[in-house]
């Protein structure tokens, strides 16, 4: 009996070759992977335009867009419209940030302030800023103030929500600490409350910047006589898709650029967090 079982035992002791399992995850990242999709789109667009598959009245060819952009820059139209747009967005953004922060501080630091302010702001949050446009046009007309106020209304909500949340979620252990080391009210705000709410504020700022451009696009297409949105709206009436594309590219570039700026500010201001992420 033992002799017959031996071969079986022996075969069990010889190591079976390790079968390499197929990796279940998506695998290694592809170099410059993020660029592949956009480049592919550009290729399809170019080939489609060159071969005549894309009607120029629907979508201008990429090279037409590039030359149009060159013309617009050469005669100064792009710069002057961009400058007008940037002024509106920045003014609305700046005023919205100030308003959002002030309201968040009042409501975050006092129960009375919260009782009075938080309800109306939450109601305002439920109403899309752009839905207020008819009312704002009636009140403020169709001039610059209407445009800036619309942007402001879109901006202050995310700033308020995230800053207020940041203030309210500061760890109560730090409040206890502040008491045991005898901080005054002002020192408590300066050393604990404001730095503690900063990450929330900066998150709100990223949403606010995006919101500012969104509002800008809409207000510039209503009764404007200048700005990137006006330039595109005018191009629509003449069927100039090349100018519309230039406008879209400018909006996209502005959005990316401003988000990058906010992220840079975030990295600079939250150095203490980066060390945690790196550890």
């Amino acid at each position: 009996m033992s002799a017959t079982t031996l071969p079986g035992l022996r075969s069990r002791t010889t190591a079976a070759p390790v079968v390499r399992r197929r990796r279940l995850g998506p695998g290694k990242p592809i170099k410059f992977g993020a660029a592949i999709g956009p480049v592919l789109l550009l290729v399809i667009w170019s080939v489609g335009s060159a071969a005549g598959w894309i009607d120029q009245r629907n979508l201008s060819a990429p090279w037409t867009v590039v030359t149009t952009a060159g013309d617009l820059i050469a005669d100064g139209r792009l710069q002057s419209n961009l400058w007008t747009s940037a002024q509106r967005a920045l003014l609305g953004l700046a005023l919205g940030i100030v308003l959002g922060v002030v309201l968040a501080l009042i409501s975050g630091l006092s129960r009375l302030g919260e009782a009075v302010l938080d309800g109306p702001i939450q109601i305002k949050r439920a109403i899309p800023s752009l839905a207020l446009l008819p009312l704002l046009i009636l009140w403020l007309g169709i001039g610059e103030s209407m445009k800036v106020v619309t942007i402001l209304l879109g901006v202050f909500i995310p700033i308020y929500i995230h800053t207020h949340n940041g203030l309210r979620t500061i760890d109560s252990r730090y409040v206890e600490l502040a008491q045991t080391v005898g901080l005054s009210q002002w020192e408590f705000i300066r050393r604990v409350v404001l730095p503690g709410a900063l990450p929330g504020f900066l998150l709100g700022l990223r949403f606010a910047v995006t919101g500012a451009w969104l509002s800008l696009v809409v207000v510039e297409q209503i009764n404007s006589t200048s700005g990137i949105g006006y330039m595109m709206e005018l191009a629509r009436t003449y069927g100039q898709t090349d100018i519309i594309i230039v406008g879209l590219v400018v909006y996209g570039a502005l959005g990316l650029l401003s988000d990058a700026v906010v992220r840079l500010i975030q990295r600079r201001a939250l150095t203490w967090r980066r060390t945690l992420a790196a550890a």
Binding site: R173, Y174, E176, L177, A178, Q179, T180, V181, G182, L183, E187, R191, V192, P195, G196, L198, L270, T271, W272, R273, T275, L276, A279
Partner: protein, 235 residues
């Protein structure tokens, strides 16, 4: 009477209630200047409640009794409780103005000279707790309250912290109330160990062992077994 009037901490008939349940039930305690008292007790025996009462952190809690503590009290928490957005030195001198040099000296005392500009996140758990000690001692407190300050540290780091704390207490001479659940830690560090149960002091041991105190000492073992008895742990 003279003993009582010179006491740093004086607690008489202290009662603290949460939802009708008396967590501290008529507690009396005196701590002399420079005396190191360790407070032992099971979970829920009222250790932390007593410490919070002494630290003045128990607003909104129902209670009665007399409580005399010095003006200058420092607290060391179980977590180091450093502000993550402030550098180490700024944490040490938090709330003090123009105390940079004192803060640096204090950091040197806890063995962290040169780390003034580090972020708390860059330090190990033991180092963070040493910063917390520096933050407490730079205020030259008459009373140091410590709530299981070494509870979250590994055993080796804890032994080093014991040595450091003894050295710092010898230099600064504060009265100390150390809450712990580690009987050996209490005996190694304290002049007097008290045991709290159901809101009252149920046992008290004066520790008069020669330094360095070792658990191999028969006197140490005798105190430990009496304390464990009082804690209801039978070996």
């Amino acid at each position: 009477m003279t003993v009582i009037t010179t006491a740093t901490v004086q607690v008489r008939d202290l009662v603290r209630r949460y939802d009708e349940r008396a967590v501290l039930d008529g507690l009396d305690l005196d701590i002399a200047p420079g005396e190191f008292v360790a407070l032992l007790g099971k979970s829920g025996s009222g250790k932390s409640t007593l410490l919070r009462a002494l630290a003045g952190l128990d607003y909104d809690v129902e209670g009665s009794g007399e409580l005399a503590v010095p003006q200058n009290v420092s607290v060391v928490f179980q977590d180091s409780r450093l502000l993550p957005w402030a550098r180490v030195l700024d944490n040490v001198v938090l709330g003090l103005s123009g105390a940079g040099d004192r803060g640096r000296k204090s950091l040197e005392e806890v063995g962290l000279a040169g780390r003034e500009q580090a972020w708390p996140n860059e330090l190990s758990g033991g180092e963070q707790q040493r910063v917390a000690l520096a933050r407490s001692l730079v205020r030259e407190p008459e009373l140091l309250l410590a709530d299981e300050p070494f509870g979250a540290l590994d055993a080796l780091t804890r032994l080093k912290m014991h040595v450091l704390l003894r050295k710092l207490c010898a230099t600064h001479q504060p009265a100390v109330l150390l809450v712990t659940h580690d009987v050996d830690e209490a005996i190694v560090l304290a002049d007097r160990v008290i045991v709290l149960d159901e809101g009252r002091i149920v046992a008290e041991e004066v520790v008069e062992l020669a330094a360095p105190r070792s658990s191999a000492d028969p006197g140490f073992a005798a105190i430990r077994s009496r304390l464990l008895d009082a804690l209801g742990v039978s070996l």
